[in-house]
Symmetry: C2
Subunit: 98 residues, 2 copies
DNA sequence: TATTTAACTTTGAAAAACAAAGCACTTTTA
DNA sequence: TAAAAGTGCTTTGTTTTTCAAAGTTAAATA
């Protein structure tokens, strides 16, 4: 037997980051506010988790405008997609014994 | 849309507790030392996570002897099995959109 | 008798999570 | 046009969580 949790990505231990990633896998772009409302978080809390994800190059920020109003959106990177998939695979492998 | 992480159990945010549970789902009983070696943890660290799981009534301790030597083993409870399954279902639901 | 092993508990430090407040800017509302 | 509100943060400080290390008790082994 080998350590069943060794292949889990530490970044995805967080339910919030897991939630962000799962939303970004199915939506090309999501706004800060949408994420905030969906995950029911405070600004600061969300911002810091997004920051962790950005540092890891798992997501990318897009600063733009809707008309003349600022709008920040996020999207997943290729690396992020890969890492997330690897994490899910590890999770699945861990529990497939069920 | 609804909050995708609302149904995840906070207790299973921890990779270690996740690992313990996944091992206990497939093995009726596992010893302290086996868990420790498998998950590569220090005594104190493992003990405290087991304690969290026990407080939640997700696992049960069995203190016994092998000969006259103490031997502690752990097993999953019905509640634990249910909670773990619910967590995995929530996880699956969250990512099934893939 | 000295050391080792098992299974912890206690202590304390480091890291992570989080809420609240502040901020710069813009837009909307009164 | 002045006040209020929204966007997307950063900063600050508290609380929670994680974890390793050391101490502990009792039995086993050398």
């Amino acid at each position: 037997m080998k350590n069943p949790i060794a292949d889990l990505n530490k970044i995805f231990d967080s339910r919030i980051r897991l939630g962000v990633m799962s939303m970004l896998v199915v939506n090309d772009e999501i706004g800060f506010n949408d994420l905030k409302q969906m995950l029911e978080l405070t600004d600061g809390n969300l911002a810091s988790h997004l920051n962790t994800l950005e540092q890891a190059d798992f997501i990318k920020v897009h600063k733009g405008f809707i008309g003349r109003k600022t709008s920040t959106t996020y999207s997943i990177t290729a690396l992020g997609k890969q890492a997330f998939k690897a994490h899910l695979d590890a999770l699945e492998k861990m529990i497939r014994k069920l």
